[in-house]
């Protein structure tokens, strides 16, 4: 273990001397963010390396308008909201789902299959599935829709806000103010989309893209590989997670995504509208589409005044640079989504790196 850490240290120093400045690597996955903090990697790495937490947590990049649309549905007596746990605390303009749990129609689910079960147990209710997440959770949503059709279940309504990773990476690099030297690419998403999916990023922007799993040692190996590429000026797609990630990815999952969804433009918190970044149900599944069937449309809303989640998500500032951080925005009363999700950059920073003790 120590040997691999030392090797990474040497590569970081080498890359730094070639570039003549600090190196900024963006991790595009909330699970990487948490692993980096939880394992103490952030503390163990030398000053010359900076890890930026990118838009890789589904909760964090969810537009406030989407949350408000879900809240409106939660207030309806005919709807039951099925959601992944992290979403319930995200504040919209009208409170959060957590504040409505008393109504009894907010159900936290662990897997998408639970939605089918809910629908069968509550035949007189409309089950609204808060479908968020990247290419990892989209196939499960697709399975629900297809299963519902096959089993003739008519009370499931998918409110899809699934996002795709590569369009976001492209959008970040297209901003001329970006500080990103390379991407640490998400393990689970890459299992689905395949490492070849990052080729356009490497070709168009000359930035290394290295896939890693979530073990600290894999992250160290990936950073080592990124620094080697930077030092040798040979950006490429690579994976230190070869057992699980193939160049072409999981074709079955890709097919069900392609058969169920269309890529549409969509709003990301902090990044704005990104072309072809959001998965919406195809026309043939419109009877399961919450936006089309329940009359609740998701319209972009501005974030609360002072909240700098957008800049954090682009890697332009660290959470403590936001005036609200640990002041009016804490995990107990989050203002922005990066403080809500346990995989958000602000929450991870607050939980694992904040030195000042909270006043008792």
């Amino acid at each position: 273990m120590l040997e691999r850490i030392n090797k990474a240290y040497k590569q970081i120093a080498k890359a730094q001397s070639v570039l003549g400045r600090k190196i900024n690597i963006m991790e595009v996955c909330g699970t990487h963010t948490v692993s980096v903090f939880r394992s103490g990697l952030r503390d163990a790495f030398p000053d010359g390396l900076k890890l930026l937490s990118g838009p890789g947590c589904p909760v964090c990049i969810t537009d406030q308008g989407y949350i408000d649309a879900v809240l409106s549905l939660a207030d309806r007596d005919d709807c039951v909201i099925a959601t992944y746990g992290d979403m319930i605390r995200v504040p919209g303009g009208k409170g959060s789902l957590e504040q409505r749990t008393k109504r009894g129609n907010i159900k936290i689910i662990l897997s998408a299959e639970d939605v089918l079960k809910l629908a069968q147990e509550n035949p007189d209710k409309k089950i609204v599935f808060v479908a968020v997440g990247f290419e990892t959770t989209a196939p499960a949503t697709a399975v629900i829709v297809n299963e519902a059709r096959q089993q003739n279940i008519k009370n499931i309504f998918v409110f899809s806000n699934h996002k795709m990773v590569v369009p976001a990476m492209t959008a970040l690099l297209s901003d001329k103010n970006n500080k990103i030297d390379a991407f640490l690419c998400p393990g689970h998403v890459s299992v689905i989309i395949g490492s070849d999916a990052y080729k356009p990023v490497v070709e168009n922007f000359k930035k290394p893209c290295v896939v890693a799993g979530f073990e600290p040692m894999q992250i160290i190996d990936a950073i080592c590989e990124i620094c080697r590429q930077l030092a040798e000026n040979s950006p490429a797609v690579a994976s230190v997670y070869p057992a699980a990630v193939t160049p072409k990815g999981n074709s079955t999952a890709q097919k069900i995504i392609a058969d169920t969804f269309d890529a549409a433009n969509g709003c990301w918190r902090g990044l704005g509208n990104i072309c072809g970044s959001t998965l919406k149900l195809k026309e043939k599944f419109s009877d399961f589409d919450a936006e089309k069937q329940l009359g609740e449309i998701f319209v972009h809303e501005e974030t609360p005044v002072g909240c700098k989640c957008g800049l954090v998500l682009c890697g332009l500032i660290d959470p403590p640079d936001c005036g609200l951080f640990a002041q009016s925005c804490t995990p107990d009363s989050p203002v922005g989504p990066c403080m809500v999700s346990s995989e958000g950059a602000c929450a991870a920073w607050y939980k694992y790196a904040r030195r000042k003790r909270r006043k008792q």
């Binding site: 394992s39 103490g40 990697l41 504040q99 040692m217 995990p331 694992y352 904040r354 909270r358």
Partner: protein, 338 residues
């Protein structure tokens, strides 16, 4: 700042919101020195003797889980609150709030478990109460137990006895109870390999006090909020810092995998049969050996130490030798678990 003008589930989670509720609403109303100490049990004088008194309510779901059930939990949880305070548990009360419609057979099983556990632990159930509420007003059954115990003659335990360089022992693997309940509730497939640690720690507590007397500075069972909450409370109450070493903290690999999969920090996860012992540096190794002589202490480990520090933080030295802060958990990491 308060989160909400309504009670949230997180207010019952044993983390920051629970602390806020107690500090702002409950303590000011009663304001007495015994309660203000916020110890696991209250020490009160009765004639010439000092007795310890405690109470706890149990709302765990599911009622029966791998390694225990609500009845066993209700006995052991209250015994543990007495034991970690340096008391020998003698008698418990048992109050039942039952939802209309509960199968009598289920109740019978729970009561049998209460009786079996109490007998094993040598405590008597000496009084009780039964209430039945309408269907929908409770979830099957809630149990409250209160308990009293005699002070062990050599016990001298309190936050104020903790000093820098004291060592921290945990008596076994962490997170077993919380992750078992969680996986069983959610029907996750690794539940067969996990087992709640639900059990009494009175045997270990009594023995270490008997052997080391006032070198045992403090004990607490890290239930809701896990090791993170217990250590943060110690840091908060004493002003000392705490440094723990990840590679020394015992964790069952399946439990760790389940926690990782669900995104939980294992340090935040509840235990129901473990105790954190703060012991003087010179007796730490011997105390560890004594803990390990017990079946429920066989995986005990010295996991860290109390340190002098300006900011009074709990810090973890990670496997890769990085350092990070361990905060008080928020309080809603898990559904109802105890």
């Amino acid at each position: 700042m308060t989160v909400s003008d309504k009670i949230l589930l997180a207010h019952g989670g044993g983390g920051r919101l629970t602390e806020e509720l107690i500090q702002k609403i409950i303590l000011p109303a009663f304001d007495n020195q015994t309660l203000n100490k916020l110890t696991d049990s209250a020490e009160i004088s009765v004639g010439k003797d000092n007795i310890f008194f405690t109470t706890d309510s149990y709302v765990v779901k599911p009622l029966f889980f791998s390694g225990g059930d609500i009845g066993k939990l209700a006995v052991c949880g209250t015994i543990n609150d007495l034991a970690v305070s340096g008391a020998k548990p003698i008698a418990l009360s048992l109050s039942l709030i039952i939802e209309e419609g509960l199968e009598i057979d289920t109740l019978r099983k729970i009561i049998a478990s209460v009786a079996k556990t109490a007998k094993k632990e040598n405590v008597s159930i000496v009084c009780g109460d039964t209430k039945v509420v309408e269907a929908g007003c409770a979830d099957k059954i809630f149990i409250n137990t209160a308990g009293i115990g005699f002070k062990l003659p050599k016990a001298n335990i309190g936050f104020d006895r903790i000093c820098a360089w004291n060592k921290i022992i945990i008596t076994g693997t962490i997170g077993d109870h919380g992750m078992t309940i969680m996986s069983q509730r959610e029907g996750m497939k690794f539940d067969s390999e996990m087992k709640s640690d639900c059990g009494s720690v009175a045997n270990i507590c009594e023995k270490v006090i008997e052997v080391f007397g006032d070198d045992i500075k403090f004990m607490r069972d890290p239930t809701r909020g896990g090791l993170a909450a217990t250590l943060n409370e110690i840091a908060g109450q004493t002003g000392f810092g705490i440094e723990i070493n990840e590679e020394h903290i015992p964790v069952n690999p399946t439990v760790r995998a389940a926690a990782d999969m669900l995104g939980f920090d294992i340090l935040d996860i509840a235990n129901e049969g473990k105790v954190v012992i703060i012991v003087s540096e010179k007796n730490a190794e011997d105390c560890l050996q004594i803990c390990r002589e017990f079946e429920n202490g066989k995986d005990a480990a010295i996991i860290g130490k109390v340190i002098k520090s300006d900011d009074g933080l709990v810090e973890l030295i990670t496997m890769i030798k990085g350092k990070r802060v361990v905060q008080m958990p928020y309080g809603r990491e898990l559904p109802r678990i105890c």
